[in-house]
Amino acid sequence: MGSERWRRALAAVPLALGLLAAGPAAATAAAEPWWVPVGLRGEAVSAVVPAGHGLLATAGGRPRCLPLPGSSAPPVCERPAGGAGGATPGGAPGWALRGGHVVRLGAGAAVVDPGSPDLGASARLLVTTAALPGVVVAVAADGTVWRRSPAGGWGRSLLLLPRSLLAGPPAVTGLAAFETSPVTSAVYLATDGYAVLITTDGGDDWVRAAPGLPVGVLAIATDAASRAVYAGTRDGLWVHRLQRIPGPPAYRHPALLARWLGIAALAGLTTLVALAALAWAARSPAASSRSG
């Protein structure tokens, strides 16, 4: 009877530790996945443009009008001025690419930005972000990503590396940011091989923001109205609704204390068990034969 009570008490220890370590259940809420499929799975989506009350996507060479994610209304796509030819039209408010050069558009003639690199005649990707005035990110014809600092200096930002000894670097297929509304400072770089990379500090540091997304991304576009980023991939159309970049959780104070106690109790119990195991392992053969 006594040993049964001990067994029950021992069985309750992990449960108590679990309750302590878990803390109040409401302390954390699961965030939405970073990328969520919208449709056209199994098809390569080569272009996507938010178009009023719908999404204009190009799959298999044909334009499709899809409903906005979460909307039950039938989609109505208003064809944008530039068509659905690409997520980034090779220009941004106040800036443009002309013959591989970055030019500032003003009231007068367009002038080449001093110190800007020659990106190559076929360069077509350039964005600004309203949250970081003066910052420009552009992709050269050879795939090198350049950035202009707010002070006006230009420099290389990112060089993509080969996928392996036999394969070269993936193609940069799109560049997007919130150019007219300071929703976020993030700039999104789409690649056909490394999914989507983002920078939030104007091109200094890059992070791969791709969980769940196919690695082959062919187009990318932002929509400030729905606070969303759309990615056309080799396996359908995906959406990322803006959310905080994941980091260590910041538990509320009471939950922190409960969890801290739980973790400390787990560490204490484990240490005791480990010491007992060490003492058992260290017993001399003579002692073990005596006790046996």
Binding site: L17, G18, A21, A22, G23, T28, W34, R147, G155, R156, S157, L158, L159, L160, L161, P162, R163, S164, L165, P169, Y194, L197, G203, D204, D205, W206, V207, R208, A209, A210, P211, V215, I245, P246, G247, P248, P249, A250, Y251, L256, R259, W260, G262, I263, A264, L266, A267, T270, T271, V273, A274, L275, A277, L278, A279, A281, A282, R283
Partner: protein
């Protein structure tokens, strides 16, 4: 070029107790590190500097130092403490510096100071081991007597590691690109920091731990044991970025560096190769989102 200089373990020397000590300590640390995850708690939000690991390692090594029954396990438990305690000090130093210096130090300077602390903590525990362990347990650190052949091995090793890293597929490694702007900003301070970090880890694993284990085990077994702990230790950094490939890679790396250390009789080739790897990770690994 077998320069190990360590006599073969005497016939009948007890390798079971040191090995059991290593297994028990590693298991306890793994439970304390990962246990909270079972209860839906991210321990980084509660114990960001892994102080629970330091507590366990400190108690196990401390008890072994004063309890005669664990005398044969002292050296191994001290070696485990040399891995854990400096790691906790290293991770806690930047935020403590930020609080003390009130933001006067750059982040890179904080990291450099934390790596100085990391190496100093490692050397302090090694000093304890060399001062208080009995002669038959004292490890040979292989820091003296660097010869030209050793330098050649170091250079060839660095070249081999860089070639292999470029040959392996980029995706699982996260070896996606070179953030040029960030490197220009960071490498002047973080480059030396990574060298200090690599030196500290080589002293911990291929210096103290391997040196202690090979006092009782055959070389291959001692090398395998230290490499296993080296691989498992990297579970602690799995919370950040695409690190799923890290544990098996570090396990193999630990085996190679351990064998190289024994073969050359010098720790310096391992320090050189490890430094190159740490810098290479900073240069070419694009981190992923936290926890994904």
């Amino acid at each position: 070029m077998d320069g190990s200089g360590v006599p073969s373990p005497p016939h009948g020397a007890s390798w079971r107790r040191p090995l059991l000590a290593l297994v028990i300590a590693a298991a306890a640390l793994a439970v304390v590190l990962l246990g909270p995850r079972l209860f839906d708690t991210d321990p980084v939000g509660v114990d960001p500097f892994d102080l629970r690991l330091a507590g366990v390692a400190l108690v196990l090594a401390g008890v072994a130092m004063v309890w005669g029954r664990l005398a044969e396990m002292r050296a191994v438990l001290l070696a485990v403490a040399s891995v854990v305690l400096p790691y906790c000090a290293w991770s806690a130093t930047p935020p403590m510096l930020a609080r003390v210096a009130g933001g006067r130090l750059s982040f890179d300077a904080e990291v450099l100071v934390s790596d100085v602390v990391y190496l100093a903590g490692t050397l302090a525990i090694i000093a304890v081991a060399l001062r208080w362990l009995p002669e038959r347990w004292r490890p040979r650190l292989r820091l003296l007597g660097a010869r030209p052949a050793v330098l050649a091995v170091a250079v060839l090793g660095v070249a081999a590691v860089v070639t292999i890293a470029l040959a392996l597929p980029a995706e699982p490694l996260g070896r996606l690109g070179i953030p040029v702007a960030a490197l220009r900003r960071d490498l002047p301070l973080l480059g030396p920091a990574y060298v200090l970090q690599a030196a500290a880890q080589e002293l911990q694993f291929r210096g103290l731990l391997l040196g202690v284990l090979e006092r009782t085990m055959r070389p291959a077994a001692a090398n395998a044991a230290q490499a296993l702990l080296f691989g498992l230790a990297h579970v602690a950094v799995l919370y950040e970025g695409p690190a799923s490939a890290l544990v098996p890679i570090t396990l193999v790396l630990g085996l190679v560096l351990g064998a190289l250390t024994r073969w050359t009789g010098s720790l310096w080739p391992a320090i050189a190769i490890h430094s190159a790897l740490e810098i290479g990770i900073a240069v070419a690994i694009i981190p992923g989102l936290y926890g994904q």
